[in-house]
Point group: C2
Chain length 415, copies 2
């Protein structure tokens, strides 16, 4: 349906229409338990892409596909200016939910449809995008498509990336027909806003409907390897032990306790550990484990990393074991545009929704777009904080609330 700009009336989100699109997209790559498996650039991803592109075309959007497979649908504005863009991703992890990423893309489409219904034209063009391989579950790094779109990741380097099955991004893009002609890395965007499920428990826990996302916290991942001596647990006195396992345990306790001392919004997780030989009655001669440290404040995060390393070296020395470590990830915190954050807050309040400022704990395409234009995000609650899980759920009324905020936010930014 083409917009009829002569019939202008308040635009309204059509929740059933949005929910139908969410359900239809969730059928592509559906897995048991209500979840979705559409790893980037698989046949399932292609089918999902085809479906969303068909909806873009039904809405009369001008669809372009760039060399990394990012798809952008543009709704013309009254003036030929850089667009106000929304969007997210439609790839999922192996046992993903139906809202992560998909909600942002489909709510963007719903905004377009609602404006069409209301006959509203905007001064600036509006665009809805889905970016390739946001999850990073098949190809590293994650947020690959937005990085190429923004220009920090060279296209050819992205195309040459080999995934977990040994094939490259480039050959998979060609195979599924999404190696598009649009130039990547030279885009101009006036502002970028992304609606996303929180993927955490804070909004639900505090009974708040809308998160005005202030930025993305910094992330530092370290993998520690402790090498001690394997000996019989029954014949080796405590004083003669070089136990790799106890060193891992002490560091895990240290980083947990450290979060009580630090400023910012400190997070510390030891999610992965392996002991060798991993037998009841043998002192571990090797422990490999990860420490995931996050903070909204860059200097506090750096301090946490340093203190953890210093403690780890001390405790390893005391136990007489060797310690090595490597950095698996290191992202500085990203601050979203204060103007966008303030708009999210005020629009949410205008709609009668409770709202709070909060950092994002996970990475999102919006943090990459923030390098090229004012950017921000709108969070809606995740039931039980679950995400990357087939049981991922956001209630319909929260989807409505989020889409309402997105609609007004895009209208304001495009005015």
């Amino acid at each position: 349906m083409k917009p009829d700009h002569t019939l202008q009336r308040p635009a309204r989100i059509d929740l059933p229409r949005l929910l139908r699109r969410i359900a239809a997209l969730a059928e592509v790559g559906a897995i048991d338990g209500g979840g979705v498996c559409r790893l980037a650039l698989t046949d399932e991803d292609r089918m999902g892409r085809d479906l969303v592109v068909s909806w873009m075309r039904e809405l009369g959007l001008s669809v372009s596909i760039d060399g990394i497979g990012n798809v952008v649908g543009v709704r013309a504005g009254q003036e030929d200016l850089p667009p106000v863009m929304t969007g997210s991703h439609i790839d999922t992890v192996r046992t993903g939910g139906r809202y992560d990423g998909n909600l942002g893309v489909l709510a963007g489409l719903e905004v377009m449809a609602a404006l069409d219904d209301a006959g509203i034209a905007t001064r600036r063009p509006l665009a809805v995008a889905f970016f390739t391989n946001e999850e990073g579950a098949r190809f590293a790094p994650d947020m690959m498509g937005s990085l190429v779109f923004q220009g920090d990741l060279p296209l050819q380097q992205a195309l040459d990336t080999r995934g977990i099955d040994g094939t490259t991004v480039g050959e998979n893009l060609a195979r599924i027909g999404y190696d598009g002609p649009a130039p990547a890395g030279q885009n101009r965007v006036h502002a970028f806003v992304e609606l996303h499920v929180e993927q955490g428990p804070v909004l639900e826990h505090e009974d708040v409907t809308i998160g005005a996302v202030t930025g993305v916290q910094g992330i530092h991942w370290t993998e520690f390897t402790v090498e001690g001596t394997s000996n019989h647990a029954g014949t080796t006195p405590m004083r003669l032990r070089h136990d790799a396992g106890i060193v891992a345990a002490r560091i895990a306790c240290f980083v947990r306790d450290l979060t009580r001392e630090l400023g910012g919004a400190p997070l510390a997780t030891v999610g992965q550990v392996q002991f060798f030989p991993n037998l009841v009655n043998v002192i571990p001669n090797r422990a490999v484990f990860t420490v995931d440290l996050r903070n909204t404040e860059g200097p506090v995060l750096a301090d946490a990393v340093q203190r953890t390393l210093a403690y780890a070296m001390d405790v390893a020395k005391a136990e007489g074991v060797r310690l090595s470590h490597r950095t698996l990830a290191d992202f500085a915190p990203v601050a979203f545009d204060e103007g966008v954050v303030a708009r999210v807050e005020s629009i949410a309040r205008r709609h009668g929704h409770s709202v709070r400022r909060m950092p994002s704990g996970a990475g999102h395409d919006a943090q990459i777009l923030a390098r090229m234009c004012p950017a921000g995000m709108v969070f809606v609650p995740s039931v039980a904080g679950l995400s990357h899980n087939v049981a991922e759920l956001t209630h319909d009324h929260d989807i409505q609330a989020g889409a309402d905020v997105l609609l007004d936010l895009m209208l304001e930014l495009a005015a």
Copy 2:
């Protein structure tokens, strides 16, 4: 060679002969690195048994095999009394050494040979035994043969035991031809002494040659399962976490620290741990780990177990996770006969060897025999404390020292 009792002179251990037997037995089931794989009741075990039995017969011993495959070779005494017995086992773990168990059996044979060489007759008969499935690496429980020999484990129950490959002890015994006719569980033994490698680092560390083993420490194994909630490490504030992993880490630190407070000779080991889903950025929803607590004092061990359980419940409650536990092993400490221990000390000193009293950290057949007669053990140093390892090593001069002590010990007990 038959003993010629008319030519009595001091008996002397022939070290080269003992070492040759050790080397020959180590060739049966030899594996890379100088180790041995002779799991109980395998073809390799049968070949090892056949070799040792052939040596028993060469020495003129009266060989009997009981229903669980224990083999006893008896050298007649001047009086028909219950024998003074030595022995150990010749089964090994999958990557075992050549001394663990084997040394005790072959030193026992060497004692017989030395007495023959010297033309010495003893008042009591002397016996050397090897017991079936001491290691428990294929069939549980360990020390199975001595348990049946002593009478606490019914023969049929042992025969019906299924191993890691699904077959029973009984069918394997029949297959290798070691389901013997001698009655099990009705034996009379005057005293039992066992020479064994320490399997720990204490003797080497203290530069002591002979361990006069005072008993076997008590052992308590607990498997803990902690069940929390898996959530995103980046989106879940610390206060909302139910992290199974941190509870495991705290308990591991607790038991280590507890050993500093306890009396006796406390040992605590967390050797085995598994996190689920075991991903860098996911809070573990499940941690399964073991706690191995040991002590020479039964009441102190029981106290350690109780304090660990109480702490575990507290820390689990504080984190909001479920905790369950099951006991995997629970053996009370065993005290060896004071008279035997004192004899080991005085004989070692008479030979000019340094000696210390010490508990055994590992389980041994002697602790089962201690239920039916005065029993004791002689330890010799393990290089680097290594055992259950192809690199297991006891120096030749220590083997000589241990065999010398064993010889005199048996002579004194048989007088």
